[in-house]
């Protein structure tokens, strides 16, 4: 009992209050995130429908706005079937491993000046470390389902995510060189003169394509290529565990868009610091920019045919890797030459 006494003393009013504040902050980020995920699925169906001269969801609520909620209810009330030959613990943990990294990464994203849950110095490293975890969910799902289509889908994703993480990391490194810091708020503040997407425009394009591949979205949606693999790594999943995969994928899309906005598009900063632009508060700018990148995700899905697997690998390793390495050296050289360090 004596051993525990100092720990029991931790439970006092001050600590409980600060814990309450932290929980409130966490809820303040995750609850809007989940709403955004729900309405991203609605936006996706509407955008793709209008690009294909259809109307998309119209029946549930006004302009189909109730559709995401109806879908979520349907998924949650279905039976959760676990395949007999699966390894059950891994099978149940896998969807969580997809969802959790996509949510915890939001801890370091600055929505406005000072509007961030945890303003850590190594924010960029934290983001790369958490995004590296997403691949486990997919591999575990594919392996534990004990079925051939999920397995093949998982093997493809593993290779794809690992390949594109390399070029993503190198792109991020050149941004860190330009900003001189790994703190995300500092990176945004370094873009007050010019957004990094202008001096590093090729890197912006490489990063955009890499995040499409990293989140397994079209045209890089090979892991779930319906024509070949049924539904890819989550073929065997049903009900709420399937919903978690779905949520994880869309939360990851929003997260990757937010990272792009912070690294290249000046985060909460308005495009120009003049009258009509700087009346709008920073987090609204952030939201508009994220919505723009998300629109590019949907646009690409409605426009491009799927890549073949060898073309995907060629693009990642033979085009992006050498080019990002070259750009990293170029950035370092330019920074040194013009004395910008």
């Amino acid at each position: 009992m004596e051993f525990f006494e100092p720990y029991l003393a931790l439970i006092n009013q001050e600590n409980i209050w600060s814990l309450f504040i932290i929980i409130l902050q966490v809820l303040g980020v995750t609850a809007p995130l989940l709403v955004c995920v729900a309405y991203l699925t609605w936006a996706e169906r509407k955008v793709i429908a209008s690009m294909q001269l259809r109307k998309g969801p119209t029946h549930v609520g006004w302009a189909g706005l109730g559709q995401p909620i109806a879908d979520a209810m349907k998924l949650l009330f279905k039976e959760n079937a676990i395949p007999a030959g699966s390894s059950k613990v891994v099978y149940i943990i896998a969807p969580m491993m997809v969802m959790i990294p996509a949510v915890i990464a939001w801890a370091v994203i600055p929505f406005d000046e000072g509007m961030v849950v945890s303003d850590v110095n190594l924010g960029v490293m934290y983001l790369l470390a958490t995004s590296a975890l997403g691949v486990y969910g997919v591999l575990m799902a594919g392996w534990s389902s004990n079925s051939k289509y999920p397995f093949l889908g998982a093997v493809r994703t593993g290779a794809q995510m690992v390949s594109y993480e390399v070029s993503m990391g190198l792109t991020v490194l050149s941004v860190i060189l330009m900003a001189g810091s790994m703190n995300l708020s500092e990176i945004v503040k370094a873009q007050e003169t010019v957004w990094f997407m202008i001096p590093a425009f090729p890197m912006f394009i490489v990063f955009l394509i890499s995040i499409l591949a990293e989140t397994n979205r079209a045209p890089f949606d090979l892991p779930e290529a319906e024509a070949e693999l049924v539904a890819g790594y989550f073929t065997e999943y049903s009900s709420s565990s399937f919903a978690l995969f779905f949520l994880g994928e869309y939360a990851n899309m929003i997260l990757m868009s937010a990272i792009t906005v912070v690294l290249f598009m000046g985060g909460w900063l308005p495009p120009m610091d003049i009258a009509p632009f700087n009346w709008i508060p920073g987090f609204i700018w952030f939201f508009i920019k994220v919505a723009f990148i998300l629109f590019i995700f949907l646009w690409a899905r409605a426009t491009f045919p799927r890549f073949r697997y060898d073309q995907l690998m060629r693009l990642g390793w033979k085009v992006f890797l050498p080019f990002t390495l070259f750009w990293l050296v170029l950035t370092a050289g330019a920074m040194h030459l013009f004395d910008l360090v």
Binding site: P6, Y7, L10, S87, V90, V120, N121, L122, M125, Y126, L128, A129, A132, L133, V135, Y136, L139, M140, G142, W143, F151, A154, V155, G158, A159, V162, E165, M182, Q311, R314
Partner: protein, 202 residues
């Protein structure tokens, strides 16, 4: 105090994970336990103020190396493995020797006190002054530049070795040249003919 609690949590889960690695029969579970151990080791690193090392551990070991293990295990056929409890005495002696050496090192480190070692103590004043990553960079690229370069050379040799060992000339491989494909024009790829009635294309 909270740091103490977190230490006990990370350390105990780390030990459970490490035991899981060696005790699981299924190699797949071993790798997943290994990932759990990496995680908790990263937590311990962050707890002592080495955030950069902790996050690096997660990026490199969890994000790359363990994924490679998992990948190899998934693609290698494991049904042929005969695990009937036979253990060769050679391996048991090998295991005992390596285990003994590692245990001896730990005991020596605890008895001798690692912190009194002058080479390690060099890090301490630098790390407390500036940011973690700045301190590391300064130490790596000034005091330890030659070891750093030689380590990168070893890694390069490893990479070249892996490519040389696995690369082989294969016959009958169809290669595509993308620039050649997309620079094809309409004129050189299709020909429009108007076949005469009743004759067709000869």
């Amino acid at each position: 105090m909270i740091a103490d609690l977190l230490f006990y949590m990370f350390a105990s889960v780390l030990c459970i994970g490490a035991l899981g690695v060696v005790l699981s029969r299924n190699p797949m579970y071993s790798v997943l336990f290994l990932v759990l151990s990496f995680f908790n080791a990263a937590g311990l690193f962050i707890l002592i103020g080495a955030e950069f090392l902790g996050l690096l551990l997660m990026m490199v070991y969890v994000g790359a190396i363990a994924v490679m293990f998992l990948f190899v295990l998934m693609t290698v056929d494991m049904t042929t493995e005969d695990d009937d409890g036979k253990k060769s005495p050679f391996f048991i002696t090998l295991v005992l020797i390596t285990g003994g050496v590692l245990l001896g090192e730990i005991i020596l480190a605890i008895m001798g006190g690692v912190a009194s070692n002058t080479r390690l103590a060099e890090f301490v004043p630098v790390a407390s002054e500036t940011q973690n990553i700045v301190a590391l960079g300064q130490v790596l690229f000034t005091n330890y530049i030659y070891p750093f370069i030689s380590v990168s050379m070893v890694l390069l040799v490893g990479m070249v070795g892996a490519i040389v060992l696995t690369h082989r000339k294969r016959e009958g491989v169809m290669k595509q040249d993308i620039s050649e494909q997309i620079s094809r024009t309409r004129d050189e790829s299709i020909e429009i003919v108007t076949p005469a009635l009743g004759k067709g294309i000869s």
